[in-house]
């Protein structure tokens, strides 16, 4: 469970308990104002918390509870036992929702009814003249739930729907399905909230008909604000109310659902003039109806239809009569009415009782709501204009912040804290200037602030605002012209006397403030310096065994040699611990990167109309800062891939027999000296055949490989450079980011990535990264008299192979090792050295078996030497251009060890 939800639940339980206890105390002291205030505060805070989550059912109830307690503490409502009962019941409901949230991580859609009932009970004791409820609410879902059928289906433009569609809907309704008219008016600001209302509308289940309209006539194109949503969506759907409410769960306040009785669809339409004479037909039809001869009536209707032009109103009425007869579910009165209208040429008027007979969901609890009133956004009305380089959000924010400072400074009171208030407003304005790169105005701001402080009045600063952020009216309408900062800061700010610069101290933090922090904040540079020093220490300590060797071999002092070795052991231990301690400082938990995913996954999956449960595990696994930071982008790519292409839409999942909600699991674990991150989804997986074909088409594999390659090998082809070109991207990874980018990023920090996938069951990406980059364990090999380092994580084994056992296959050398053919390459040759590999006295060659991806390869060298921990420094200067080397390290004897980059030379 994500930490925020966890925190919410644990705190909510405390609050619920507190509410219960306070209520009990109030029973004994019903007039205690402190208790009432406390009770209000508890409910209020809990409501505030719940507003952070998508739990409208809970928030609605808590909001009603808060209003009730507010009325009680202000003596607008009288505390009573029944009132306490209502509140307690509501809190039990909240507690139950908490349990459900804890168990499932979300709420099922089934609580709307209870929620509405509880809200009603809580609102009842509040006097009706209390207009608080009617005040504009920031969150419309908090408005009291209203009963259904605010709208009559007769008011809807159903006749705008093509007849064929209405007939189809009629059939489905007769088959027992509910019909709903959907009216979705997205919030004007919805684009800023990452929503795509059109996408949401397109996902409407069981849509029979759809339409899009502008809410108002369009302004001239030059004045159009593309990011203010002006559309409304309509639809006729055969989905159940529950499914629709689920689909529009996040914007339910913007949606109106109206149950459509099937007869409301029976609207003949077309040209009212012309056609054969119908009087006889109508008389015959009535007779047949009276006689109960429906088959006869069907025959008459058919022949009459053949005589009528299809575009006639009469023909349309006949088709409806035909359909109603065919399905045969209506009462006789319906047939009578249809026959009557052939005579009157007026649409049938259905009686309420007839409409009610048709299935509808009108009796269900509902979220029907008309909410056409513009809702107050916090901040200010968005100025529609463009401001260079400021995004619409930033421009809005700037306008709002400046407007707020204007209000602060215009206050006419003069409290003791006025200077502080002025300084803070000046600081806020300075922030605005810095944010829009209008540094030139900072000085005039300081001047104006100084005069304001001197005069103990906001007026000088208000004047400064008028000059720098001009036009009061623009706050409400047009753009504020701050795109380009006025060339020279207007001097006419109220300041009369310039103040010496040294007097202006505000805005700078007092240096002498005493801090008592629990943790130290240390500059990265200092830690890096420590790392360098410990690196030198490791090298210096490596000199000791060399020294001991010399003491014995050159000077013949065996005892001294032994002492040095003994001391080396001690120093070695201390250095290792020191190294560990420094590494520890750089360690960060994986949760640092994990924490952004709940939000990311929620937003993206919402946008895509998918249901995804994100499970994060092992967030406390630690790794070096560099590694953690390097993890971020690859993880985002992989998660996006899973959401975009892995996890299916709820509909597809159900069709595939899976749970509608997909699961995405991010798990971090430590495996010896590596941190492993697994990203697994239960989506549709990758089809190896598709990959094979693409790889073949791109020339990445030849025909032989195409036939022999295993499914797993095929899946891993997505990492091949050159695979993720345009069309493959759209198949697999989208957004123009291929998996080879992920691989490159991970390999940059010595990590590896593997992908396994089972078609239809999901994919799993496994990232394996070193815990730390700082220390590299290398094996030293000798070739042509030189020493080279090979990173230990590449080394599989060292073996000596008799020269006779080396075979030559097509100019390549190979040897059979442990039953497998291992290709051999001479290191000298790879490095462009002319010398042949040397063998030992038994004519055996030294073979260093290394791992490259999934393959093993033998490197022919002259000899193996010890393994060492080194601090690898990247090559500098001219050498940096040589890809064959990963870097160098200083050795104990002062020599330089060059570490090979095997990937490059092989």
């Amino acid at each position: 469970m994500n930490p925020l939800l966890e925190q919410f639940l644990s705190e909510a339980r405390d609050f619920l308990q507190g509410i219960g206890e306070t209520l009990m105390q109030l029973e004994n002291a019903p007039d205690d104002a402190d208790l009432m205030n406390e009770l209000f505060r508890l409910v209020h805070t809990l409501k505030g918390n719940s507003g952070l989550f998508d739990v409208p059912e809970m928030t609605r109830v808590l909001h009603a509870g808060e209003d009730l307690m507010d009325a009680v503490r202000n003596r607008r409502a009288v505390y009573s036992r029944s009132l306490a009962d209502a509140l307690l019941e509501a809190m039990d409901f909240v507690g139950m929702l908490c349990d459900e949230l804890e168990a499932d991580g979300r709420l099922s859609a089934a609580h709307g009814g209870s929620s509405a009932r509880l809200v009603e009970a809580l609102r009842k004791p509040i006097p009706a003249d209390d207009n608080r409820v009617a005040a504009p609410e920031p969150e419309p879902e908090l408005a009291p739930a209203r009963p259904t059928s605010t709208l009559d289906s007769a008011d809807l433009p159903l006749d705008g729907i093509p007849e064929a569609v209405r007939m189809q809907a009629y059939r489905r309704s007769c088959g027992g399905e509910c019909l709903f008219w959907l009216d979705y008016r997205p919030d004007e600001q919805s684009f800023y909230q990452g929503e795509d209302p059109f996408f949401l509308a397109r996902q409407t289940p069981e849509l029979l008909w759809c339409g899009i309209q502008a809410r108002e006539p369009w302004p001239p194109l030059a004045e159009l604000d593309a990011y203010c949503c002006m559309l409304s969506f309509q639809g006729l759907t055969a989905a159940s109310r529950a499914d629709l409410e689920e689909q529009y769960r996040y914007v339910i306040d913007q949606v109106r659902l109206t149950a459509i009785p099937r007869l409301a669809l029976v609207i003949p339409g077309g040209d009212p003039n012309g056609g054969p004479v119908y009087e006889d037909f109508v008389a015959d039809a009535r007779a047949l109806l009276r006689a109960g001869d429906l088959a006869g009536l069907v025959r008459n209707v058919s022949s009459m239809l053949e005589l009528s032009g299809p575009d006639l109103w009469i023909a349309s009425a006949l088709r409806w009569l035909q359909l109603v007869l065919e399905i045969g579910q209506e009462e006789g009165a319906v047939l009578d009415a249809l026959v009557d209208c052939l005579e009157s040429l007026a649409p049938p008027r259905w009686e309420a009782s007839e409409l009610a007979a048709a299935p509808s969901a009108a009796s269900e609890p509902t979220s029907d709501r008309q909410d056409d009133a513009p809702r107050a956004e916090h901040g200010r009305e968005a100025p529609g204009g463009e401001r260079d380089a400021l995004s619409p959000l930033e421009a809005d924010t700037l306008t709002a912040v400046v407007a707020a400072q204007r209000e602060v400074l215009a206050l006419s009171d003069a409290p003791a804290w006025l200077p502080g208030r002025i300084k803070a407003a000046a600081e806020a304005l300075a922030g605005c200037l810095r944010a829009v790169d209008a540094m030139a105005s900072l000085q005039s701001l300081e001047v104006a602030t100084a005069s304001a402080l001197e005069a103990r009045s906001g007026a000088p600063l208000l004047a400064w605002i008028e000059a720098c952020f001009p036009a009061d009216a623009s706050i409400e309408r047009g753009p504020v012209g701050l795109a380009a900062e006025p060339e020279s800061p207007p001097p006419r700010a109220g300041a009369q006397r310039p103040v010496g610069e040294d007097e202006i101290k505000f805005g700078r933090r007092a240096e002498d403030a005493i801090a008592a922090p629990k943790s130290l904040k240390v500059d990265q540079v200092k830690i890096d310096r420590l790392m360098d020093l410990i690196g030198e220490m490791v090298v210096a300590k490596n000199a000791l065994p060399y020294l001991a060797g010399r003491a014995e071999a050159v000077f013949g002092v065996r005892e001294l040699s032994r002492d040095i070795k003994g001391h080396y052991g001690v120093i070695n231990r201390i250095v290792e611990e020191m190294q560990g301690a420094i590494m520890q400082v750089r360690m960060m938990p994986v949760s640092f990167v994990f924490q952004r995913f709940p939000r990311l996954v929620r937003d993206i999956s919402r946008k895509l109309g998918k249901e995804v449960e994100l499970i994060l595990e092992g967030g406390d696994t630690e790794a070096d800062k560099t590694i953690i930071e390097a993890l971020g982008d690859p993880l985002v790519h992989i998660v996006r891939n899973s959401l975009d292409h892995g996890i299916e839409s709820p509909g597809q999942r159900r069709a595939a027999g899976k749970a509608a909600t997909g699961t995405l699991r991010l798990r971090a674990t430590q495996e010896s000296d590596r941190v492993v991150i697994e990203i697994a989804d239960d989506g549709k997986g990758i089809d190896p055949d598709v990959i094979k074909r693409k790889a073949y088409a791109k020339g990445l594999i030849d025909e032989t490989v195409l036939e022999q390659i295993s499914d797993q090998e095929a899946v891993n082809l997505v990492f091949a450079a050159g695979f993720s070109t345009t069309e493959v991207i759209s198949d697999l990874s989208g957004r123009g980011v291929g998996m080879d980018v992920v691989r490159t990023a991970v390999e940059k920090v010595n990590g590896s990535v593997a992908l396994t996938s089972r078609k239809g069951q999901g994919s799993q990406v496994r990232l394996s990264l070193p815990l730390s980059m700082a220390v590299t364990n290398v094996m030293i090999v000798v070739s042509d008299g030189q020493r080279f380092g090979v990173p230990m994580d590449r080394v599989v084994e060292t073996v000596r192979v008799p020269r006779a056992a080396i075979r030559v296959i097509k100019h390549s050398q190979a040897a059979v090792l442990r039953g497998r053919i291992v290709p051999l390459k001479s290191l000298n040759e790879l490095l462009g050295l002319a010398a042949q590999p040397k063998s030992n006295d038994d004519d055996e060659l030294a073979v260093l078996v290394v791992r490259l991806g999934d393959e093993s390869l033998g490197l022919l060298v002259d000899d193996f030497s010890e393994t060492l921990d080194i601090i690898l420094k990247p090559m500098a200067g001219v050498l940096a251009g040589l890809p064959a080397y990963a870097g160098s390290a200083l050795m104990g004897d002062g020599s330089v060890l060059v570490v090979l980059n095997l990937k490059e030379i092989l």
Partner: protein, 123 residues
């Protein structure tokens, strides 16, 4: 790194704001009520305050009045409340707030406001 003090009695709200702000690279500290907030801000200055209204011991208005009454450098404060009445907004400004937001605040909005008040642009 800019330091922000979150003043709210609800741990959930504090965590919510902390996650948003820390993810954006700000350093965050917390106080559970006005008294604690005052103590912390007198110990060490902050670059910005996020202040709830309704809190035990000392509420948000009281905290801001005390803070603004100090003869010290003053940092901007955002008052975050669930109250919708315009009168609350005026009260907040009078007490020394520089911006008034209603809960729940959308992360992108909060960040835009915080960045602006701190004089920073998009990262």
């Amino acid at each position: 790194m800019k330091r922000i003090l979150i003043v709210d009695d609800a741990a959930t709200v504090r965590l919510y704001h902390r996650e948003i702000l820390e993810a954006a690279g700000f350093e965050v500290e917390e106080a559970m009520n006005g008294i604690e907030a005052l103590e912390r801000s007198l110990q060490a200055g902050f670059d910005l305050y996020l202040v709830d209204i309704n809190m035990p011991k000392l509420d948000g208005y009281g905290f801001l009045r005390e803070l603004r009454g100090q003869d010290l450098p003053q940092a901007p404060a955002i008052m975050i409340s669930t109250e919708a009445q315009p009168s609350d907004e005026r009260r907040a400004y009078a007490a020394g707030a520089n911006l008034y937001l209603r809960k729940p605040v959308k992360p992108e909005h909060l960040l835009a406001q915080v960045r602006l008040l701190l004089g920073e642009r998009r990262p």
